[in-house]
């Protein structure tokens, strides 16, 4: 790229966005206060499953400060919320898509299901008035567990989904797998529950919806990871408005982890109502609402088997998973336990035959959708728990069994549809073992044993597929959206550059990373680059940020636009320098006639483009503003090895993480500091899943028992240690940055590494199986049970 001073690619540049966040100048949705705004409050079901016989809103409407009260019956002409991915079942039938109403009508299907909206002058007045709404519920039995939901006689949640089944879907060659199992020397089997999680971005969801009679247009500020998708779904599918009349702005967003990808009922109802009340409407979720009504993650029940030959070579894998969808299909719910799960079951291994069958069930719970990792942590957990158990059963060392099965030749076609372009799995395993000091483990274990403690070491050699693509293949698999990204590079007349990206930052630091990419390519200072994101009114289009796609897909779109800028710049420079276009080189911020010292600076070319006095107007348009849409040709495949060492106190069952080491291959890295931060955050979410977090609904009543930070154990600073993280690089082969993505790796690798360590530690005490989270109570109980 450009000259050494301005080329910051690969450097830990401190973040451009930090000054505003550190001085309290961030602009989050709840900080937006349009004049004369009102406040919305949503009345939610206290029952997991109930028919609503009657709703009387008269008293609420008459309460002080109330502007309007709406129920589902008022939303005439408003459709239900759509699901963005159509899964076709093994029976050839499309999945069941029962209506997902904006406000529930006639029936509520989970605790927290919203069915009325009160709009008032203050939040307190809205809330007080909601209490005056008289509702006649007829509570009926509920079912919250996906396996129970599929059993005969389970309460029926939707008329349109008999047996609560959304779909049964399968991937892989069943006959080949069955044949391989028949001749296996060893078969390892596990029954696994992947615990349900609640994402808990620290900024609660919020929205501010306004309507303007001047242009019959709407403006929505919303905590969204992908404002264009939100607008498209809301206008075209639900409200029947022209996209041109709705501007969606996702300003600073305080974390998402998937939970802010989706089109939610609240903001949809608010946009609709903003025209009716003709005043802006604001709503910010209380944390208890986040627990109840944000889309949750995971919630799989799986039976998994691995067939091996006598040397520990994997012959085949067979997996059956029941996945909860919750009460309604959230925006991407259906593709998580299928397209983003079963396809990852090859892991880093040459397993020649894999078959996975998934049944998705409706349950009386909040909807389930993508949460950091989305399908891939569940897949990695299945694969790496199987591998750990198989190695233990067969007496093969954990690193050795992995090495015996690693893929080493690329590109590699897996039996579950993916084509890995590149990777270097041995290098990551070696390095992770080095920094984890695996050699010294036996001595540490012996020392711990003297103190009466149980030490264990666990590995996870994970792979993930990021930057979901390409659109045409995804389309054949059921995607109802494109998966490209958009970048616009606007060179201003004085040489400053404004970049409009369809990616959205809610903590990832795009303003810095993307600026590094652009500044380095153009040979200009980072300060001269401004990144604009999160506003449908300013950015051409975009698919937003999820699935670790921003740099690999969004960054590449920017690169493509930069290529066009440079190409046009060469034409302008050729004219100014009276040289042939083919002779112009662009380097270090200068257009130079090759082999001479005749050059024009980038800024001079920009100025000429906007003040085209000496300009080839007959051949070239003025201006220097280019847009590119980039549709990737393949997924990217970040991979790595995480190694966790735990020490368990058998008297209390408490698991202490004494060491966590990660070596990841994210391809080329623009800003190592930001990448490390992503790994730290992901690992702690993974540790949260493995040790602390568990969403619990009462099996009988369907009440959410973990509805606050008192009951749902979000990791705190003193629950986790510091980690050793490092990287190895095999550049992605199919995008110009060579980048793969890093946002989810921690959450994917950590749960399996940690639980493998727990199992390793407990094996000496005779404990063979434990589900997440490995709480002290669970570990202690398992140890007691093993004694008897």
């Amino acid at each position: 790229m450009g000259n050494s001073e301005l080329n910051t690619v690969g450097q830990s540049v401190r973040r451009k966005e930090d000054y505003r966040f550190l001085t309290g100048c961030g602009q989050y949705t709840d900080d937006v206060n349009p004049p004369h705004h009102t406040h919305a409050y949503f009345l939610r079901s206290p029952h997991a499953h109930a028919n609503i016989r009657r709703i009387d809103t008269a008293k609420a409407k008459a309460a002080p400060g109330v502007v309007a009260v709406y129920t589902g019956a008022d939303l005439t002409g408003v459709n239900g919320l759509p699901c963005g991915w159509l899964i076709t079942g093994t029976d050839g039938q499309p999945m069941k898509e029962p209506p997902h109403p904006v406000l529930a009508q006639g029936k509520v299907r989970y605790v927290g299901d919203g069915f009325a909206m009160v709009i008032a002058e203050t939040p307190a007045q809205a809330k007080d008035a909601a209490e005056l709404i008289d509702v006649d519920y007829d509570a009926v039995p509920a079912v919250v567990n996906p396996v129970e939901a599929l059993k005969a006689g389970a309460p029926q949640i939707h008329d349109g989904a008999p047996g609560n089944k959304c779909y049964t879907w399968a991937l892989g060659d069943k006959a080949a797998v069955d044949a391989a199992f028949a001749k296996a020397a060893h078969v390892t089997q596990l029954d696994i529950v992947n615990n349900r999680l609640i994402p808990n971005a620290i900024e609660p969801r919020a929205a501010v919806a306004s309507y303007s009679r001047a242009d019959d247009g709407y403006t929505l500020y919303v905590t969204s990871q992908n404002p264009h998708v939100e607008r498209l779904l809301m206008t075209a599918f639900v409200l029947g408005l022209p996209e041109t009349k709705v501007r969606v702005i996702a300003p600073d967003v305080g974390g998402g982890f998937g939970s802010k990808i989706y089109l939610y009922p609240e903001e949809t109802a608010m946009v609709w109502a903003s025209k009716r009340v003709n005043r802006p409407i604001k709503w910010t979720a209380e944390r208890s609402e986040s627990f109840l009504a944000d889309a949750h993650g995971r919630d799989h029940v799986t039976h998994a088997e691995l067939a091996l030959d006598p040397d520990g070579k994997f012959l085949a894998m067979r997996v059956h998973t029941t996945a909860a969808m919750g009460a309604y299909l959230s925006t991407f719910a259906s593709c998580i336990p299928t397209i983003l799960y079963a396809t990852l079951l090859a892991g880093q291994y040459t397993t020649p035959a894999i078959y996975c069958e998934v049944t998705a069930a409706f349950t009386n719970t909040a909807p389930v959708d993508a949460y950091r990792g989305a399908g891939r942590p569940e897949a990695t957990y299945v694969v790496e728990r199987l591998v750990h158990a198989a190695a233990s059963e067969m007496g093969i060392a954990q690193d050795e069994i992995r090495r015996r099965n690693f893929i080493r030749e690329f590109p590699y076609q897996t039996p579950v549809a993916l084509l890995y372009d590149t990777g270097g799995y041995d290098a990551c395993l070696d390095e992770a073992m080095r920094i984890a000091d695996v050699q010294g483990f036996a001595a540490r274990k012996a020392e711990a044993a003297k103190r009466g403690k149980l030490r264990g070491l666990g590995y996870a050699a994970y792979i993930e597929a990021c930057g979901l693509a390409p659109s045409n293949i995804a389309g054949t698999l059921g995607a109802r959206a494109g998966l490209y990204e958009v970048g616009q590079v606007r060179v201003n007349p004085t040489g400053g550059v404004t970049v409009f990206t369809g990616s959205h930052s809610h903590g990832q630091g795009h303003e810095t990373t993307f600026s590094q990419v652009v500044a380095s390519r153009l040979g200009i200072p980072i300060e001269n680059v401004e990144i604009v994101h999160g506003d449908t009114g300013r950015i051409p289009f975009g698919m937003g940020t999820y699935g670790s796609r921003s740099l690999a897909v969004g960054g590449t779109a920017i690169i493509k636009a930069l290529d066009k800028v440079v190409a046009k710049g060469k034409k302008i420079a050729a004219h100014l320098l009276e040289a042939a276009e083919a002779d112009i080189e662009f380097k270090d911020g200068k257009f130079t006639v090759a082999g001479t010292d005749r050059s024009k600076a980038f800024g001079e070319v920009a100025l000429a483009a906007y003040v085209p006095h000496n300009y080839p107007l007959d051949k070239l348009e003025p201006g220097l503003d280019e847009t590119a849409f980039y549709d990737p040709t393949n997924f990217t495949f970040p991979a790595g090895t995480h190694i966790c060492e735990v020490e368990i106190d058998p008297d209390t069952g408490k698991v202490a993480i004494v060491n966590f080491s990660a070596c990841d291959d994210f391809g080329n890295i623009i800003n190592p500091m930001i990448v490390e931060g992503q790994v730290h955050g992901g690992v702690v979410q993974g540790i949260g899943q493995a040790l602390l977090e568990q969403c619990v609904y009462d099996q009988e009543s369907g009440q959410l028992l973990t509805g606050s930070y008192m009951d749902y154990a979000l990791p705190r600073a003193d629950d986790v240690p510091s980690f050793k993280v490092t990287t190895k690089v095999t550049p992605c082969t199919h995008n110009p940055l060579g980048a793969k993505g890093c946002g989810e790796a921690g959450a994917i690798g950590a749960p399996a590494a940690l639980m493998n360590a727990v199992h390793d530690a407990l094996s000496a005490a005779g404990v063979t199986y434990l589900d997440m989270p490995a709480t002290p109570h669970r570990v202690w109980s398992a140890l007691q049970a093993a004694k008897h």
Binding site: D18, L22, P204, G254, G677, L714, F723
Partner: protein
């Protein structure tokens, strides 16, 4: 019932009439338009709303505005002087102790309180003291690093 308040916020005298049930955090955000103080929960558990009241870290969602009558309050907006970051803010930037920035104001103010009480805090102390502040983004590692570095800078 409305009550009158007089207090100092970020070195400026503030006099106001508020509804008696107004929480300090709502007073700061809504009446004073200082939106750097955030609300992340409704159970006093997340610490996003932390401000300094007479130099001590207080979760502003857990007290009423009237309880702060007569006191001296510092919010995140009051830390940087003349555009120059407070050493703790600078350390957060330098150590990448923030991602989405939502927990950050509370983290920085808690950190300053922590350092006042434990000028030489080690990692274990910092982690234990941060127990009241949730961050979902950073995994805490760089926050801990930032606080140690900020503490050193504050010692001078």
């Amino acid at each position: 019932m409305s009550v009158s308040l007089s207090l100092t916020v970020n070195d400026e005298a503030v006099n106001a009439q508020v509804d008696a049930r107004t929480l300090l955090v709502d007073f700061i955000r809504n009446n004073l338009a200082l939106t750097g103080t955030h609300v992340g929960c409704d159970t006093g558990q997340c610490g996003a709303c932390t401000v300094l009241v007479d130099g001590n870290a207080v979760k502003a969602c857990t007290i009423l505005a009237v309880q702060a009558n007569g006191s001296k309050i510092t919010t995140i907006e009051g830390l940087a002087k003349n555009g120059e970051l407070h050493p703790m803010q600078a350390a957060f930037k330098d150590c990448h102790g923030l991602q989405c920035g939502f927990c950050t104001p509370g983290m920085v103010l808690s950190a300053i309180d922590l350092v006042q009480r434990h000028p030489d805090a080690d990692e274990a102390t910092i982690r234990a003291e941060l127990e009241g502040n949730l961050c979902r983004c950073t995994g805490y590692q760089n926050i801990v690093k930032a606080i140690a570095q900020g503490a050193a800078a504050m010692r001078g």
